[in-house]
Amino acid sequence: MSEKIVSIKDLWVYRAEHAVLEDINLEMEAGDFLGLIGPNGGGKSTLLNAMLGLIKPDRGSISLFGLQPAAARSRVGYMPQKTVFDRSFPIDALNVVLMGRYSRRGLMHRYGSADREAALRALEAVGMQDRANREIGALSGGEQQRVFVARSLVSDPDLLLLDEPTAGVDSAQQTEFYDLLCHLNCDLSIAIVLVSHDITAISKHVKKIACLNQRLYYHDSKELSNDDIEKAYGCPVEMIAHGMPHRVLREHD
């Protein structure tokens, strides 16, 4: 029996007396690749924050690898929504990636040669090894995004949480990026949660899909019913899937 990577039971999160997340149940196993879609403000980032241990559940429980989220941090890689940084910040790609080793080192311990080797390996995994000593601001948008993926990989995580990773990246680079995620998922068997509002783009790549708008619509499969989507988004499916509903959605019977 494979280890439960994520186990969320009856999770409720409130903000200012409104439920942001309502009765969420979700389980993930090794090798899963879950696409998480849903309207803006539907609680996608809140759910990720809860999985990172930054938000305490008001009701229910979350465990990652059988541990409390905060205790499992060294096994989780995270890439925040569009990293906002000063493009002239004096730091090279290698040192950006090294930041991801913090969860393994902890306060006041300096990075050692093992950390540097891990950072180079992570850059290699995303095909950026020859950019290691380039300033982060001198890289293209797609390259920067790869560096941030490398940063989330450098702690050798078993679970990656990616929050809208393709925002602000052109479509050619997006295709390459999804190929990279497939490689991480299939060849390195890292479980991935990919948050996006772009249903058509992610549905081509993920293995399973869930839709979140306060409640989670999920059937442990790659299919959602028209009904789920309409409930989650509060409008007809065609408007959301941009005329290509069949990519995600089975004909309703």
């Binding site: 925040p80 004096p90 090279d92 930041m99 913090y102 969860s103």
Partner: protein, 266 residues
């Protein structure tokens, strides 16, 4: 050749020692001020420190210690406000700044006969640094350097990407308060050298020049320390030779270097 005879005077030795220690602080803390975009906060802290300096005078205690106390309190106050976000940070700084200055002027005036000192705190008087001031400044510099050495990777993470830092478990709030406290210490020390009005120039100019020409944070810090030391030493010499105010001389030299570097790097 420059006549080094001035070094026979104790006040010059103290001035030089304090100036060099201050350059190390400017180089290191100044870079974090620039990278974290807290220039205005730092300036606010410097002005608010004046309230504490005035109180020290009024009560007859060491004004420098009171200045540091009020600067640290202001730093913590601003740090708390910006994380609660009820009042906008800009507004809070504006209020702290003006209140500190008003308190300082009021209290100094009430403590009869200190008009000359008022001038010194506003515009700096490096030649008034005593031996115990110089020792105090050097000790503080060492402590701050040690903290930066121990927390180098944490401060880098905080400066580059605080959102990610928080997500991977870095104590972002505590670190930010610590950074602001270190800024507060540095700023009060710099007040001794160039005065409240010009502190921010000395804190940011060396780092701004160094950053334009060098890559990698450790190298930028080193370059910035060297530039700061050059400005302070040169400024001290020129002001001694020409008998002009030291603070203004140091800042003018730094400003000329800044404009030259801007022109050259175009």
């Amino acid at each position: 050749m420059i006549d080094l005879g001035f070094l026979q005077y104790d006040f010059m030795k103290n001035a030089l020692a304090a100036g060099l220690a201050a350059s190390v602080l400017c180089g290191v803390i100044g870079i974090y001020v620039i990278l974290n975009k807290i220039v205005f906060i730092s300036d606010g802290i410097a002005h608010a420190a004046f309230g504490g300096i005035g109180l020290g005078y009024f009560l007859g205690y060491d004004p420098l210690a009171f200045g540091i106390g009020s600067a640290v309190l202001t730093a913590i106050g601003i740090g708390m406000i910006s994380s609660r976000a009820r009042v906008s940070e800009d507004t809070a700084i504006g209020v702290f700044m003006a209140t500190g200055m008003a308190l300082g002027i009021m209290l100094l005036t009430l403590s009869q006969g200190y008009a000359r000192d008022l001038y010194g705190y506003l515009f700096g008087n490096i030649l008034a640094v005593t031996e115990s001031d110089a020792l105090f400044i050097s000790a503080l510099t060492l402590i701050i350097l040690l903290l930066v050495y121990l927390l180098y990777k944490e401060l880098l993470l905080l400066s580059f990407d605080p959102i990610y830092a928080e997500a991977i478990g870095l104590p972002v709030r505590g670190l930010r308060l610590l950074l602001l406290a270190m800024v507060a210490f540095s700023v009060v020390i710099l007040i001794k050298i160039v005065g409240i009005i010009m502190v921010i120039a000395l804190l940011t100019i060396p780092g701004a020049i160094s950053r334009r020409h060098l890559t990698g944070l450790p190298r930028i810090m080193a370059g910035s320390v060297i530039l700061g030391a050059a400005f302070v030493t040169l400024g001290l010499l020129v002001s001694y030779e020409l008998d002009v105010p030291s603070g203004a001389t140091i800042i003018l030299i730094a400003a000329v270097a800044f404009f030259l570097s801007t022109l050259l790097s175009r």
